[in-house]
Symmetry: C2
Subunit: 418 residues, 2 copies
């Protein structure tokens, strides 16, 4: 229904973001965000799980939060606790778990408990873009901890903490994605985990550990124990079902000491009336029986698609590209030559039907990451990956002259008619 | 896991609410909140709907928001538009509907678009307690519009608007629940709806219309058209599936002019990554076929339970009680004699296994509503209603001496051993 005269805009608050555009759909070659593989949504398994759990407990949907309180459906909390015990070395029970409406709500709750404008937090130099946008809206100072192929560099972090202490600043948290880092896909080795925790103890800083991708490793869940497992008193641990099952379901979780979690629960209770119970029930029922099989099949498929993407990127971009080879997950993080500013490729790529995440949105220092980008290989088929990466290389060449050669075709020669 | 030493409390922000207690479960006689009837959760219908919609569209769960954008699952938006057209006189299409994570999120989004600290809004004198707590946290001035058995009194509202105008204040909205008011259960007649809209036009104020209970009327959905139907340009209309289906599902909706909705969509996109898609898909699939039958059966059951509760209240409280007889919904709003302060009954009632909503939490002027209370008859069985109301009358008598007589038992006589 079109606007018929009343001017709401006179009444809108001063800090309200600009109007959203009408939804225009996704790009054909959709390498953006964290979508998953359509063929691996376990449709029949979810139908069976729904029938089973609703016949057993469906009448309880008549009560807010199934009358199980603000921490969420007990069956899902128990599954999370069991999963974390079996694969992540975490000793926790259902009462130590808070189910959230996606890991995004978990992040918001942690920030709402701890942060006030002017506070300082430490993030990995490349990290989930959602952290950056949320923290910037909160008016928080973000300090970048440098990364290498094993995660946060402990020497650099020590220098940062000492420097902050010298200025009288205790950061509110160190946010780390130690197991399948986003976007780099690295896994922090055990000895470095201990070093990180030692630094956190020395400086009195909690660690905010994000394991949203940790269940999707190429090596059958063989990462070292979670940071939370090594020091439950000072680590706030979050995870998600968006990547292991489906992002259109909005389910994440937190494991934390009750002193901290009780603050999160108080805020969640004031903000919502619970997380959707049907999704919690169905995921608990399905994953209580099928988690390991599903995640193993998914990881194998993702590894195959990663290999396809790495081949395509190397074929199309040649020596112009430096990919970080991930140890799991759904992303390929890569660097183009310094003279390429990927921000200038976003619109031309979209016109060619290609969506990607520019590095500056995934970096504390955006300008310094202007030649980096992230490609998701979760959604697209292998053929779409090959076609899409080739099309992206053409866009990149048309805009920047790079790459000079794709496969065995020299672009410059093709343009001159040879 | 118990606390093992790290003191998060040193790091917690200054305005964070106190820690939540561990969940203690619901009361035996649970007349609080907006729970529904367990026996009317359509378990087999939901299972069938899940199988049908997942076999058709389940693979799309692999994409955030099913790749259908931030307004929600198109099938549910279309159902909402059709329902509102058929029963509420509203002409809207799927693009005019925003699905939210419960009506609570809709309320938050409306407030986030319009309100800044120090703003003024007009609410009904008795209203949904969630409005009051949310608005007080936002630092907004709330002006109460008096109610009678037909909803907002237009003469009084006119005086309020003129008075505010005289002080240079334009309220950001008039929030009304014209169709099954919460807590009174009234339905505003058509002529008064026109008068309300005329006042809103005269003073340049939008109307925030809440129809969360409007589908549950005793008279087969025979209420006058929604306010939105009468003036779509200045009414923001919200509804919910919590009462028509199940509150543990978190699904609400908004219909509003795109100028306004585009602001809500922008904020929702910044705050979440969509509303849970499985619940949207299942509700759309189930209600597209079964809405009328389900709501008719539910309303008949609720009317029967209301009659049981009114009988019980009159039997147990006699002339001490003045109930407002609702025209639909799940609540009985009533007043005890002025000397009873229901706030002092909350804890003794809980000890006796009875939970109720004290009037002050449902009133702009809490102290003035100290003798009022709200009982939900949605959850409890008829036998529990009879037992619970009798138990509540005993608690009330023990604490206040009122009621003097329950049924044909004079409490004072019983106590003196006669």
């Amino acid at each position: 229904m079109s606007s018929t005269g009343f001017a709401y805009s006179n009444l809108v608050g001063k800090s309200v973001p600009p109007p959203a555009p009408r939804w225009a759909g996704n790009a054909d070659f959709n390498f953006v965000g964290g979508h998953n593989d359509r063929s691996l949504i376990p449709v029949e398994g979810l139908i069976e799980a729904t029938a089973s759990v609703l016949r057993r407990e469906g009448a309880e949907l008549a009560l807010y939060s199934l009358a199980q309180g603000p921490q969420g459906y007990r069956g899902l909390r128990q599954f999370v606790a069991d999963k974390l015990g079996r694969w992540r070395g975490i000793q926790a029970g259902a009462d130590d778990v808070l189910i959230t409406s996606g890991s995004g709500q978990a992040i918001d709750l942690i920030n709402q408990v701890l942060l006030e404008p002017g506070d300082t937090v430490i993030l990995e130099e490349f990290t989930y873009g959602g952290y950056l946008t949320k923290l910037r809206r909160l008016g928080v100072d973000i300090v970048a901890a440098p990364l290498d192929e094993d995660g946060i560099r402990i020497d650099a972090l020590g220098t940062i903490l000492a420097d902050l202490k010298g200025r009288g600043i205790t950061p509110k948290y160190i946010c780390a994605i130690p197991t399948i880092q986003n976007p780099t896909g690295s896994i922090m080795p055990l000895d470095r985990r201990h070093q990180l925790l030692a630094l956190a103890r020395e400086y009195g800083v909690p660690i905010f550990e994000d394991e949203c991708y940790a269940d999707l490793t190429w090596g059958a869940m063989d990462a070292p124990p979670a940071l939370y497992a090594l020091d439950p008193s000072r680590v706030i641990h979050i995870g998600s079902f968006s990547k292991t099952l489906a992002p259109a379901l909005r389910l994440g979780y937190v494991v934390a000491d009750w002193e901290f979690m009780s603050r999160m629960v108080a805020i969640k209770t004031a903000n919502d009336s619970g997380t959707g119970a049907l999704e919690q029930m169905v995921v608990a029922e399905y994953f209580s029986k099928h988690f390991e099989d599903h995640v193993n099949e998914l990881s194998a498929t993702l590894k195959d698609k990663l290999d396809t993407m790495v081949e395509a990127v190397e074929r199309e971009f040649g020596t112009a590209v430096e990919p970080w080879l991930p140890k799991g997950g759904i992303f390929l993080w890569m660097k183009l030559p310094d003279e390429v500013d990927v921000r200038k490729l976003v619109q031309p790529a979209l016109k060619a039907g290609i969506a990607f995440n520019p590095g500056p949105e995934w970096a504390v220092d955006g300008a310094a990451a202007k030649s980096r980008l992230r490609l998701c290989f979760g959604l697209t088929t292998k053929e779409e990956i090959r076609q899409g990466v080739a099309a992206f290389a053409r866009v990149c060449h048309d805009e920047t002259g790079i790459p000079v050669q794709s496969g065995n075709v020299r672009h410059v020669a093709a343009e001159s008619g040879e």
